[in-house]
Structure formats: C-alpha cells, structure tokens
Symmetry: none
Subunit: 213 residues, 2 copies
C-alpha cells in the first residue's frame, strides 16, 4: 500500500510550541528522513495537508480542544485522508474520551505522560498498521476537579455570609454589611458550620478561601 519508503510526510500539530518541538524531535528520531511539518491549530493542519498532491502519511495531533469538537475534527480528517495514519496525543486519559477518539477514526492515542521513547515506539507501531492506545494507567493525571463543588448546597444567604466570614469579618460587621441583625448572622454561621461539617469559624474561612470564595 505504501511504496514510498524514502520520504515520509508527517504533520505535527500542537498549540504549545515547547511540546510541538518535543514531538517533532521524537518523530525525527523515529523516522530520520521524514519531512515534518508543524501546525498550531486545525486550520494549519488542513492547509499543510492539502498543500501537497500526495496526502500526508501521518498526522500527530494534540487534542486541541478536549471535547466533542475534537472527535468531530478527527472524523473529518479521517474522511478526507483515508490512507493517512492519525495519532492523537493528549494530556487527558479519560477512558470514555479515548474510546470516542478511536471511534472517530484515529489510529492511535498516546498520553503526553508517556516517555519520548515509548511515544516513538507507538508512532512506529501505528505506522506499521497497528492500532495503539497508550497512556499512564497509574493515575498521574486523573484530572480531578472537585474544588468548585463543595459550595453548591448552600442557600444564597449562606453564601453571602460565608464570603464575609472568609474576609475575616466579625458577626457584627457582617450584620452591618448585610443590614440584618447580628443574631441572624449567627444563625447563618451556625448553619454553615453544620453544612460544611466544620467546627470553627476559622475552618469555615479557610475552606471558603481554598474553594475560591
């Protein structure tokens, strides 16, 4: 199928220059004579790919926009360049996302946490007709994102009070600011202590501060 063993054309796309450089070096090490073209966005990728009569041999693409747009772009790329290899390199290693990407027509998925040598090997494998999914199963980048969550079940007034507690104001000061009675402020503070499951006003303040107010 591929007679052209002399000069591979490989497009490397990543919006982060440093990473793009790194990927280019990996590719060149793996395919010494290859013609590597760089792109910083999807438009550049398409422009590069269409610039030549012959389709590129391999796309090495960062997940520019982690989301549904990506799978869509991959699908379109697969439509237009049926014989090219498409390898996605990405920070996130969410199993569902990977499945979507492979289903969209990618030939390989490689996590950025994988070492350069392994990335090179994976590229070679894909170039060889294999389908490769390779990322860190350990849990180095589980992309956890819970900080903005714990303030959800609070009532609007509770959030008002919490903000001011986090500023270090006393109940009396908070009362003046909100134009309510200090007694009422205490009610809210007490309910906040229960709601956030802490025992002191200071823990409340710390928790609020850490959660981004």
């Amino acid at each position: 199928m591929h007679e052209r063993t002399v000069k591979d054309r490989i497009i490397v796309a990543d919006d982060h220059p440093v990473f793009r450089d790194g990927l280019k070096r990996i590719v060149l090490k793996q395919f010494p004579g290859a013609q590597v073209q760089e792109a910083g966005c999807m438009e550049e990728v398409l422009a590069c790919a269409r610039a030549s009569e012959e389709p590129p041999d391999t796309f090495v693409l960062d997940l520019l926009f982690p989301g549904l747009d990506s799978t869509r772009s991959i699908g379109e790329l697969r439509q237009e360049f049926r014989s090219s290899s498409i390898v996605i390199v990405s920070m996130v290693d969410d199993a569902a996302l990977i499945q979507d990407i492979m289903a969209a027509g990618a030939d390989g998925f490689i996590g950025k946490s994988v070492s350069p040598d392994e990335i090179g090997a994976a590229l070679a494998a894909v170039r060889n007709g294999e389908f490769v999914v390779k990322f860190s199963p350990s849990g180095l980048v589980p992309a956890r994102h819970e900080p903005p969550a714990p303030l959800e079940p609070l009532t609007p007034r509770q959030r008002d009070v919490l903000r001011l507690v986090a500023d270090g104001l006393s109940n009396k000061e908070i009362a003046r600011k909100l134009e309510i009675s200090p007694f009422t402020v205490r009610i809210h503070v007490s309910s906040l202590l229960r709601a956030l499951n802490v025992g002191t006003r200071s823990a409340l303040a710390a928790k609020a501060a850490k959660a981004g107010l």
Copy 2:
C-alpha cells in the same frame, strides 16, 4: 549577593516527559553551563533540592496538579528555599490562578503557549531579580511585589501555629498538638494578627489558606 556565576543549579519539573525535555533544552540554551536536574513530581523536586548543601538557584515547575494543592506546594517551597527563584509554567492562564500563584511566593508565571525564546527570556529576567508574568501571546507584565510577600517575616513557630489555625483548630487544640500551653498559643496568634495585619482569627485562616499553607 550571588557570587556563583559559574554553575547555576536549576531544577526542571514536569510530569510530561516530552515537555520536560523541551523545558530543559530551553534552560540549557539560556544558561549554557547550568546543571539541570529533572523531576516528574513534587517529591522528586524536593529530593533534588535537598540533595545538595546549596539551595537550587531556580525552580522551573509545571503546575503538576492544577488546583489549590499547587499554591500550597509553592508556598512550602518558598518557605524552604527563600533565596531560590521559583518559576511556574502552566497550560492554564487564568488571571485569578496566576494571582494566587504569585501570592504563594512564585517569582514568575509563564504560559506554555509562549514560544521557547520568550520562555528563555522570561527565565533570564527572573534570574535577574525581576518578577515576570507572561502568558497571552500579547505581552510581558512585570508583577508588583508588595502583596505577594505575606509569609516572609514569620518565625518558624508562628508558621506552625498559622498552619493549624488555617485548619480551624482552637487554641487549646493547637496547644495539645504542639505540646505547649494554650497561653503560649495565644501569644503566637496575637503576634500573627499583628504580623499579617488582620484583626481576626478567621482572616488569619483565610489568608493562610490563600497563601497556600
């Protein structure tokens, strides 16, 4: 102040090998004779940093875990290595996050989308004593450094107490933990209130939490 012009020690940390390689190359290009050590996680960073008698000259750190944990780690690093430069390199360029990071004691913030040359220039600027924040392709913003020095003049014992205050512990509990008298704890708390120029224990907790303690 720095007589050691011959051999800088620079620690480059990023959990993504490819990016780490790229950063290392940038650093070596900017500081040709430098001794560059690589780390893939915070533990390795600390191990490297403590391995030598002399503190490292510069830390170049990826935001390993985008979130509050990072500011905390930075704060601790700043505590332990007062004279080192700390430069954070990160994908995200959220203004609030950057402010938190600088407040936690970093000397510079650089987005990964910035070109290698500009990253090198920024590192040189920081090495030169400047504070640099650089992310959007637009420009270089020298950071002001009055507010970002909140925890510097504290005594070790004050920091001990502050950490526990930020956890929401009462004076009595802190006394038990530190095995000192509650009266003594109050002394430290009072001094902290004056030192950090706040009026309440809660403001203390919030400030400590924001500063990454």
